[in-house]
């Protein structure tokens, strides 16, 4: 027994070193697997507060670009106003093909919440974005995030009362199902950690006719991401020699170095859809 105490006293610093290493590595690996770290909620509030202070200064320099994007979106919405259309033939009935909605929001599927980016990086291999809305404002995990011009930015992975953390598309563990708009063929998009302007799209068969500049939009497979949102355009086409698939380099629609105002999209039927999937899985196992 005495020898054990002597041993501990003699190598106390080394043991302390091992304890600290263990603690740090435990933080790291639990976070990487679940994207939730112990105490990150509290830390998120504090870093969020500091980041907000910094952001008020930064806003001043990037407002022009933001203004341009919002103006462009505004322009496209103005063009949809019914007063811009002339009804030529009175015998024709005006049909709206959008989902009908009432003011109570019974038929509403997606709800958008505006938020401001307070911290964002592009230089790391795992880039995260922090925004100034949290669970108090109704943000939940797995909601998708769009840029102010409607292009896909990422997914909410961690929420504290007033701030939330988003996994950017520029994250090596990120995977999103997308469509080629022209041919409607589905693939999954990821990031290779190299250049923050380009993503990589796999699983598009070489039988598809893909040309440079083709638009890539979000797919239908995800419960959290609305269909048809802009992701990017094809910038480079190469073939995987081993398989019959293209490797496409996609220029992102959102400029990740310059994010400011974003929309957080909530799917109001998300819980119902997820529950249905769960129960279906259970049912299949039972039978």
């Amino acid at each position: 027994m005495r020898n054990i105490f002597l041993f501990i006293r003699r190598y106390f610093t080394f043991l302390a070193f091992l304890v600290f290493q263990g603690l740090a590595l435990w933080f790291l690996f639990t976070y990487n697997r679940f994207h939730r770290a112990k105490g990150l909620g509290v830390a998120n509030e504090i870093t969020g507060w500091v980041n907000t202070r910094y952001n008020t200064v930064q806003d001043f320099f990037t407002m022009r670009e933001e203004n341009r994007r919002v103006h462009k979106l505004n322009d496209s919405l103005m063009n949809l106003l019914s007063s811009n259309f002339l009804k030529r033939d009175t015998s024709l009935r005006l049909v709206t093909d959008s989902i009908p909605y009432d003011t109570l929001g019974h038929y509403r599927r997606y709800l958008e919440r505006a938020a401001e980016v307070v911290y964002n990086t592009v230089n790391s291999e795992k880039n995260y974005i922090q925004i100034n809305k949290g669970s108090n404002q109704g943000i939940k995990d797995n909601m998708s995030v769009l840029n102010s011009d409607g292009s896909l930015v990422g997914r909410v992975i961690n929420v504290s009362p007033n701030f939330s953390v988003i996994m950017s598309l520029l994250h090596v563990q990120n995977k999103v199902s997308v469509l080629v708009k022209k041919t409607k063929s589905a693939g999954s998009i990821s990031w290779d950690g190299k250049d923050p302007r380009y993503l990589v799209l796999n699983n598009i068969s070489v039988s598809d006719s893909i040309v440079k500049g083709d638009t890539i939009i979000t797919g239908t497979y995800s419960n959290s991401i609305p269909f048809g949102k802009m992701v990017g355009t094809v910038a480079e086409i190469s073939r995987d020699q081993a398989t019959n698939f293209f490797i496409l380099k996609i220029k992102t629609a959102a400029n990740f170095a310059d994010l400011q105002q974003v929309f957080v999209i909530e799917n109001l039927q998300y819980d119902e859809q997820e529950k249905l999937l769960e129960e279906t899985k259970k049912k299949i196992i039972k039978e």
């Binding site: 302390a16 070193f17 600290f20 933080f27 790291l28 990150l40 790391s124």
Partner: protein
């Protein structure tokens, strides 16, 4: 100014510079990631106990981690260099003197060559360990090696620039004081 106050202010400045200046540098290349914050640990006074160094190293790393949303990554690397620091200083200490006549490691206290060796070795350890942890989940062996070399080079450049731009005025320590 006491050592404690000086170092608290220093920590705040290093973290803010790292988070809001170096991390915000527009993207140049995938291997270019400027790191300077760990110079705080290298600048700590000589007379801190080894246990104290480990605690301070962990706090420094975890503070940066919470800003960069990578809990544990920088903390692990910082604890490693905080543990190794006394050994490196022990190797580089002049044999005839009982210790250094200045309070903190600096080019003036140690001489330029030993100081650069000291910073280079610890920088290499810090970056190798950090990039290794990042690389475990992703990447190839070649990109790992190139990234360690590139980030170490950039960090050394930043450290030398910092030393030349902000020479620390320090009192000569005497027995009478």
């Amino acid at each position: 100014m006491s050592d404690l106050v000086r170092n608290i202010i220093r920590l705040a400045i290093f973290i803010l510079v790292q988070v809001y200046l170096l991390n915000k540098i527009p993207f140049l290349h995938q291997f270019i990631a400027p790191y300077l914050y760990y110079l705080f640990i290298l600048w700590l006074p000589f007379n801190i106990s080894r246990m104290g160094l480990l605690v301070i190293g962990f706090i420094t790393g975890i503070t940066l981690d919470f800003f960069m949303m990578t809990p544990g990554l920088h903390a692990a690397a910082c604890v490693l260099i905080a543990y190794l620091r006394p050994f490196i200083i022990g190797i580089l200490a002049p044999k005839d003197a009982t210790g250094f006549s200045y309070r903190e490691p600096s080019p003036r206290a140690m001489g330029w060559t030993p100081y650069l060796i000291y910073t280079f070795v610890l920088t290499l350890f810090h970056h190798t360990y950090m990039v290794l942890l990042e690389w475990l989940s992703f990447g190839s062996i070649l990109s790992f090696i190139i990234k360690v070399i590139a980030t170490t080079g950039i960090s050394m450049l930043l450290i030398i620039t910092t030393e030349l731009l902000f020479p620390r005025r320090m009192k000569f320590r005497t027995n009478t004081a």
